[in-house]
C-alpha cells in the first residue's frame, strides 16, 4: 500500500431524499495517525464513518480506505480494518476470551488472544460472562473484537459516549495502546477533551462540512479566534486619571483589564508604549493566552446552533 494515506476522502456527499447530510467533505488520514472527526450530534460523523466502513454508498465523491473502495470491496476491507460501531451487542451466552477466540477465527491473520486481552486490559475478566461486564468493559471488548484480525486501521465511532470518568480513562488508555501498536485510528467524538487528548489531528465537522482541520493548535489558530491579553487594572486607570490606550479595544472589568487581538504582537507593543507613557511600568499580571481548541469549537458549534445556519457562512 503505497498510496500515501490510509484514508482519503474527496468531495464526499450524501443525501437521504431531499436532506443533505454531507455536503462535500474532504480529509486524509496518514498511516499511524490518530485522527478525530469532532462535531456536535447530527453533524454527519457517523454517516461519514459508515461510508468509510462500506455500510453505505455515498451519493457522490470518492473514498479510499487502505487503497480500497469500501462499497465495492467490503470483504477485503474488513480483513484489514477493525470497526467499533456505536452500539453493538454480544451473543448473550458468551464469555470474554471465548468470544474473542471466536472472532479470531473470522480473520486470516489473527492477533494472539493473550495479546488482545492485554491491549484492552481485560485479562482479569477473560472468563467473565459478557452480560456481566460493565459498560466500560464492554466497550473495551468491542475494541478487542475489532482488533482480533490485527487490522492496520481501526474505526471508533463515539467510543466513550455516556461513560463515567473512570471508564473513559481506561478506554482512552486502550486507544493509546492502539497508537503504540502503530495502528491508524479514525475516531469520532463530540467530546472536545477526548479529541484534544487522543488525536494527532482533528477535523471539525458541522452540518455536513469540515469547518477546520489540522493539529489541535492549528485548528485553534485557523478558527480565527483572537488572542486574549489581560493585565491587572492599574490604580490610575481605575480612578480615571489616565486615558484608555488608542487603537485597542480594552475593557476594564474591575481589577482585570482585557482585550482581544488578531495581531497580538502589535497590540502588545501599543499597550506597553501606552503603559510607558503613563508611568505604569511593565503592567502587573500581564498574560497572553493563545486561543484554545475549546474556544474555537464552542464558537463554531454555537454558530451552528444560531442564526447563521442557513447562509452557510463561516462564523
Amino acid at each position: 500500500m503505497t498510496d500515501g494515506a490510509a484514508v482519503q476522502v474527496r468531495d464526499l456527499r450524501m443525501s437521504y431524499g431531499a436532506t443533505q447530510v454531507l455536503c462535500g467533505v474532504d480529509f486524509e488520514v496518514s498511516y499511524g495517525e490518530v485522527f478525530c472527526l469532532l462535531g456536535p450530534n447530527g453533524a454527519g460523523k457517523t454517516t461519514t464513518l459508515e461510508i468509510l466502513e462500506g455500510f453505505r454508498r455515498p451519493t457522490a465523491g470518492t473514498v479510499r480506505v487502505l487503497g480500497l473502495d469500501p462499497a465495492a470491496q467490503p470483504a477485503r476491507l474488513r480483513e484489514r480494518a477493525g470497526m467499533v460501531l456505536q452500539e453493538c451487542g454480544f451473543p448473550r451466552q458468551a464469555r470474554v476470551a471465548e468470544l474473542i477466540d471466536l472472532w479470531r477465527t473470522y480473520y486470516p491473520n489473527p492477533r494472539p488472544l493473550g495479546d488482545l486481552l492485554e491491549v484492552v486490559e481485560l485479562t482479569e475478566a477473560r472468563n467473565t460472562q459478557v452480560r456481566k461486564l460493565s459498560a466500560g468493559q464492554r466497550r473495551r471488548l468491542d475494541f478487542a473484537l475489532a482488533l482480533a484480525g490485527d487490522p492496520d486501521l481501526v474505526f471508533l465511532d463515539e467510543p466513550t459516549t455516556g461513560f463515567d470518568p473512570e471508564a473513559r480513562r481506561r478506554c482512552w488508555a486502550a486507544i493509546e495502546n492502539l497508537r503504540r501498536l502503530g495502528k491508524t485510528v479514525l475516531l469520532t467524538t463530540h467530546y472536545l477533551d477526548e479529541a484534544e487528548r487522543l488525536a494527532d489531528r482533528i477535523a471539525i465537522l458541522r452540518s455536513g462540512r469540515i469547518e477546520l482541520s489540522g493539529t489541535t493548535q492549528e485548528v485553534a489558530v485557523l478558527g480565527g479566534l483572537a488572542t486574549r491579553i489581560s493585565f491587572t487594572t492599574p490604580a490610575a486607570l481605575r480612578r480615571g486619571q489616565i486615558p484608555l490606550p488608542d487603537g485597542i479595544d480594552l475593557s476594564v472589568c474591575g481589577s482585570e483589564s482585557v482585550c482581544h487581538s488578531g495581531n497580538p504582537g502589535m497590540t502588545l507593543r501599543l499597550l506597553l508604549d501606552w503603559a510607558l507613557r503613563h508611568g505604569l511600568g511593565d503592567l502587573d499580571g500581564l498574560a497572553v493566552t493563545a486561543p484554545s481548541l475549546e474556544d474555537t469549537y464552542l464558537q463554531l458549534t454555537a454558530a451552528g446552533a444560531g442564526l447563521s445556519r442557513d447562509n452557510g457562512d463561516r462564523p
Partner: protein, 243 residues
Amino acid sequence: MGQALIEQRSFWRSAEYALFTFVFPLMILLLIGAANVGSYLPGTHIKNTTVFVPGILAFGVIVAAYVNLGSKVAVLRHDGVLKRIKTTPLPSGAYLGGLLASTVATAILLTAGTGLIGWLAFGAAPRPGGLLVLAAGLVLGIVCFASLGLAISSVITSAESAGPVTYASFLPIAIISGVFDPTFGGLPPWLSHLVDLFPVKSLAQVLQNAYAVRPFPAWDLANLALWTAAGATFAVWRFRWHS
C-alpha cells in the same frame, strides 16, 4: 461448519432455549401421551397414541425450526450481533448457514428424541411403508418452518417479544389442528377449512400418515412447499442485519 458447532454450544448453554425447545415438547409428549394410552380413534382400530406421537413430532419440528430460529435471529438482530458480524470478513452466507445448520441439528435431535420416547413409552412407530413419507415430511417440515421462522424474525420489534410472538403465532393453530389431541373435533366447518390451509396441520398430517395408514398426503406436501416458498420469499425480501 465451525459456526454451526458454535451455535449448538451456545444453544445448549442457554437454559432458556434448551428448556423450551427440548423439555417442553417431550413433557407434552409424556403427559398427554399417558392420558391417551389404551384409547382408540373413534370407529377405528388405530390407537390414539399412534396419531398423537407424530403430532408431537410435528410440534417438535415447529418449536426447533420456527420458534427457536425465529426468536434467535430476532434477538441477534435486536442485540446488534448481526450488525457486528457484518464488520468482520466472515461471509454472510457462512454465518447464516451456521445458524441454519444448527437449527437442523436441533430439529433432528428433538425429532429423534420424540420418536424414540414415543416408541419406548407408547409403542408408537412409523409403519414400514411410511419411512419415505416420514423422511420427506421431516425434511420439508424443517425447511418450511425454518423459512417461516426467518420470515417472522423480521416482523418482531424487540428482543423481549421474540419468544412470545413466535409461540403465540402458532400455538393456537397447533391446538385447533389437533396436534395435542387426536380426537379433537367439533370446529365450525369454516374454521376447520381455514385450519387446513395452515402448514401446522399439513405437517402433522404428513407425519401421521407415516405412522398410521391414511390417504397419501399430496395436498399437505404441496401446501408445505407453498408455505416454504412464501416464507423464504418474505424472509429474503425483509431480511435486515440491523434493527
